[in-house]
């Protein structure tokens, strides 16, 4: 069994159960749900995650990890934090979309140069032209001949909010 402890413990990493029938900890998302979410929201193929395991630490924070370990894992850090769950709208992390967002086929918004610079420095901007879904988008720009994810945008009411965390914001102009 993957999640061995009956409640969520913020001091350790617990491996996610494979499916709902394996779930022991109430509210804990499953591997299946994580993979489906990336697929339905961004069109990222489930096979992209074939070599990663998923872990929760704290309330709903999910990590993608390139190996298997005993669970729980009482250590400082493991893998890459990819997602915030246990809330109505799951929120992907900047580092997750930079690492895995290149595989996305929908809800990717590609910005022109000036708008991309504003997004990277954390500025919210008006965006009347977007016809895709509301909510969290992968925001990208063209660099070295291809589209590359910059981070996560929150699109609401013709406005694109930058969720680039303070420690990652940069004035690149």
């Amino acid at each position: 069994m993957n999640d061995r402890t009956a409640s969520n413990d913020g001091q350790q990493f617990d491996r996610l159960p494979a499916t709902a029938t394996d779930r022991v900890v109430a509210g804990r998302p499953t591997r299946e749900e994580i993979i489906q979410w990336w697929n339905s929201r961004f069109g990222i193929s489930p096979t992209i995650w074939d070599y990663h395991t998923f872990w929760e630490k704290g309330n709903g924070k999910i990590w993608a990890v390139a190996a298997e370990y005993v669970s729980p894992l009482p250590i400082e850090g493991v893998g890459l934090r990819i997602l915030r769950t246990r809330q109505e709208h799951w929120k992907p992390s900047t580092n997750a979309v930079q690492r895995f967002g290149t595989h996305a086929s929908k809800n990717v918004l590609t910005l022109e140069d000036e708008a991309a610079l504003r997004f990277a420095d954390g500025t919210d901007q008006s965006l009347p032209r977007w016809n895709g879904d509301w909510g969290y988008l992968i925001v990208a720009h063209k660099i070295a001949g291809k589209s590359e994810p910059i981070g996560v945008g929150l699109y609401l009411h013709d406005e694109l909010r930058s969720t680039v965390p303070k420690g990652r914001r940069e004035d690149l102009s």
């Binding site: 890459l80 070295a144 940069e170």
Partner: protein
């Protein structure tokens, strides 16, 4: 005590050595192959009109004219990481394969750790340990920016690192009980960092050297004990003091089951063999397989690097 005088007998050209120590270090970045390729990164640097000079002995390193490499799109995307040229050596010496289990005993802030992760194609396990919790947050931040998923971070005293969090001494599936490789990039007196820390020599004292030697010996011993037979342990410092380099390796050869093995840096990077005599002490002849790096030979900081194989 002037450390340059202390090592004059070891150095081929003391004037060139002294001059190099007085020059600032060039700004060097490493391409993070977990998120990009060398070619695409070069294309992005060209697009951004950032002047760079490839480093001949390593295709993934560039010297930049700017000393603020963080202010650029390639850096923002996690394609580049600032890393001193000479500090690329130890991970190359570890030479891990994808899927292996590697311990970085003194990992923060993580430039060598994330280089190990990239050399393993972001598969297997890199255990990045550091005893300093504040420095660990820098390691985690760097690893996340570079998109690393094969790193686990621990906050233990490396001298008595325990496998208990990984299921050691149990029969559980997926437990970790030994490393395939270990890197001990040890805390040291940092004489070799004089080019970026101009007061490194002023703070020098024999007492400080001897206090870090005790720690270095204990960390390297633990690394050898925790690595499987046939596995390898790389020991490196950024200092010239033989007490902290050959002296530490020699001590561990005598106390643990291991031997020094041959490893050579890529062609084009000049090193000098480790020494077998210093200050009335004699070291094992295999110290000649270890490497000393002096600042005037490759226009880098100073360094020491040894590779050991665990024999039983």
């Amino acid at each position: 005590m002037d450390p340059i005088e202390r090592y004059a007998t070891l150095i081929d050209d003391v004037t060139a050595f002294r001059d190099a120590c007085a020059r600032p270090l060039p700004s060097v970045v490493r391409v993070n192959t977990i998120k990009s390729s060398v070619g695409r990164t070069q294309e992005a640097l060209n697009e951004a009109n950032i002047n760079y000079e490839p480093i001949g002995w390593h295709s993934g390193l560039f010297k930049l004219e700017t000393n603020r490499p963080g202010i650029s799109w390639p850096y923002f995307h996690g394609w580049l990481h600032g890393q001193e040229e000479v500090s690329v050596l130890p991970a190359l010496a570890v030479d891990p394969d994808p899927g292996e289990i590697v311990w970085d005993a003194c990992a923060a802030p993580g430039s060598k750790t994330t280089q190990l992760a990239a050399l393993m194609d972001d598969t297997g396990v890199v255990i990045g340990n550091d005893n300093n919790l504040g420095r660990l947050s820098a390691l985690r931040h760097n690893a996340e920016r570079l998109g690393v998923t094969n790193l686990v971070v621990t906050n233990q005293d490396a001298r008595n690192f325990s496998f208990n969090p990984f299921g050691g001494r149990t029969e559980r599936a997926n437990r970790i009980e030994a490393f395939d490789h270990a890197l001990v990039d040890a805390p040291c007196s940092c004489e070799g960092t004089i080019r970026k820390n101009p007061d490194a020599f002023e703070q020098w004292s024999r007492e400080h050297v001897m206090s870090v030697v005790a720690i270095q010996k204990d960390i390297l011993r633990r690394a050898v004990q925790a690595t499987r037979p046939g596995g390898t342990v790389v020991y490196s410092t950024c200092t010239f003091a033989p007490e902290e380099n050959e002296g530490v390796v020699n001590h561990v050869l005598e106390s643990e089951s291991c031997r020094v093995v041959q490893w050579n840096p890529p062609a084009g990077f000049k090193t000098i063999s480790g020494i077998t005599h210093w200050d009335n002490e004699s070291y094992d002849p295999s110290m000649e397989l270890t490497h000393r790096v002096y600042p005037h030979h490759n226009d880098t900081g100073g360094f020491f690097c040894a590779k050991l194989e665990v024999t039983s």
